[in-house]
């Protein structure tokens, strides 16, 4: 892959990030009114005054933008109205939990979903195909939070098998094997929920892509040289289908994060989604902006990484 390709993709990522920064400012300064937000918050009058000064809210818009930019770039995202802690600390504290949830669920769902799509496509019209496709459609039609509710109802309430909230048992073990076991038990339901919510799309997309690829001439060549169907699938159909799959995977990252937000909220999983949704009710604007910034940055970075992976997979990009 040429450095030119890497460079151009990096430029796109940086541009998007810059746009997010500007947008974030304008949304809350131009449309919203941060002074009023501040006044309604639960901070003490003295703290409000100090904050007003610190954020430069008493200055003109251009100066405000300059201050906002320099503060944001230095990692100063303001102070939470609710907890009165720096937003950056709050968000960075929650981020690993979100990344763990999203990372595990995304990888699991992409692998399992993609694999199910390949199964469906290689047996088009069979009972397997029908079951997988119809099942996917139904799961696709479910909101994330509804799947979460159903899971809690069945596994936690009816069967009482798993804990339904938080990352670990309050007052439980804080280190060692017992701690990890506790976290694992708490994580199981949210991760499963997110994985299952995402599976369907990957199955549907993979099935469609593989079916498309199966119409290509080089598949006929594969069969013609005497490869058994399963090898044609593994060596020619799947590698080619991976290209559009990776593209969709990249476009999907934002959607996955959205799902994670809701699921964190339902399971009280202490990630940035839970933090953000909690902030809606508290009208905690600095936290909202902070989660939005960090979430966007995470998605942009993930997209950039996927772009690079795509370049590695496709020789037409790599050698161009």
């Amino acid at each position: 892959m040429s450095w030119r390709h890497v460079g151009s993709r990096a430029l796109v990522a940086l541009g998007t990030l810059a746009f997010v920064l500007v947008f974030n400012f304008f949304l809350f300064r131009a449309v919203g009114d941060p002074k009023k937000d501040l006044i309604r918050s639960r901070l003490t009058p003295a703290a409000k005054e100090a904050l007003l000064k610190e954020r430069g809210l008493d200055r003109d818009k251009l100066t405000q933008f300059r201050i906002y930019l320099s503060q944001t770039l230095r990692g100063d995202l303001g102070t939470s109205f609710t907890s009165r802690k720096p937003v950056l600390d709050e968000v960075l504290g929650a981020l690993p939990n979100t990344l763990m949830l999203v990372g595990v669920a995304t990888l699991l769902s992409a692998f399992i979903g993609g694999w199910m799509g390949v199964i469906a496509a290689s047996r088009r019209g069979s009972a397997w195909d029908t079951a997988l496709t119809q099942g996917s459609l139904v799961f696709w039609s479910m909101p994330f939070f509804f799947i979460a509710i159903i899971f809690i109802w069945i596994f936690a309430v009816k069967l009482g098998a798993f804990p339904t909230g938080l990352k670990s048992t309050p007052g439980g073990p804080t280190s060692g094997f017992a701690y990890y076991r506790d976290v694992f038990e708490h994580a199981l339901l949210p991760v499963t929920t997110l994985t299952i919510s995402l599976l369907a799309q990957y199955t549907v997309v993979m099935r469609a892509t593989v079916s498309d690829v199966m119409n290509e001439d080089y598949i006929t060549t594969g069969r013609a040289i005497g490869l058994p169907a399963r090898l044609v699938m593994r060596r020619h159909a799947v590698p080619n289908a991976l290209l559009p799959f990776v593209t969709l995977f990249a476009l999907n990252i934002g959607f996955v994060l959205s799902g994670a937000f809701v699921i964190e909220s339902v399971f009280s999983w202490p990630g940035i989604g839970d933090l953000g949704i909690e902030a809606i009710g508290n009208k905690d604007y600095p936290v909202l902006q902070g989660t939005f910034l960090v979430a966007s940055a995470a998605v942009i970075v993930a997209n950039f990484a996927t772009d690079l992976v795509y370049g590695l997979l496709d020789p037409r990009v790599r050698t161009a």
Partner: protein
Amino acid sequence: MSASAPDLPADVLLDVRDLAVAYRNGRGEEVRIVDGVSFQVRRGEAFGLAGESGCGKTTTALALLGLLPTSLYRPTGEILLNAADGLVSIHKRTERGMQQVRWAKVSMVFQGAMNALDPVMRVSNQIGEAIRLHEPGIDRRGVEERIAELFGYVGIAAARSRQYPHEFSGGMRQRVMIALALACKPELVIGDEPTTALDVMMQAQILQLLEDLRRDLGLSLILITHDLSVLAETCDRVAIMYAGEIAEIGTVRDLYAKPEHPYTQRLLAAFPAVGGPRQLAPAIGGVPPDPADQPTGCRFAPRCHRVQDICAAQAPALRALDDERAARCHFAPWPTGSTT
């Protein structure tokens, strides 16, 4: 070789007998897109299969490799390959059985080759894959040597085998495809419109290459094309297909000198020859019939300029006119000098 297998003369490599290929339409009726096709290909011979799009020539070729799409089936027909190591009854082979025949004995060059090579795989890996598949014991060194040899045949520097298909031009890609077709030393190579997407000069290069390879390697060749003039220069014998049937078959020399089927007559005249008369030949009216709705009687009758009453009523058989020649027309042979 089983006792029941029919004996084939030693010089016949491929014998196709009464081949039909059909699908079921919406009402469950059998619709034949290839019907009663019989021909033989001799060792070392170039055999041409010509006709317009939809006449069944490509379907026939796919049937020879057992590569028909799942919607199609073969109601009748025997396909016998008189391979060097014994007779193969292709029509009796299962999918798994065919996997041993494909490429090792019969290989194919596809149209244009633009998409016939896997875009994300190095060319050397694609050719190597075919070689390893049919010679499991071969080592890396052996594969590399074979690839170098194959690239030598088709006139490309062996070093380029490490490249991807998109790095080759159209004509070069067709050469790579030919190298792939020769990878497992087949006895029969089928070229399905191998030069259709190419320009005249490139077409001449590729046809010359195929001719040289056939001579040097002792291959047999089936060339499928809609372009009768291409066959005239490369083939020994040709079959002209119309509406799923063979309309006429014979040696190139005889058939082109005196076509007996009115379709062949008009088709040959449709190619204005450089240096020939400066005028347009009369056109063949109408369009080929829908396979689901073939005319009773002669399938060409509705478009035929020499049609008689009997043609609409009775389907003509493919009648032998001499050892090499047969035509599916009630009136063949036509008196000399009446062929247009």
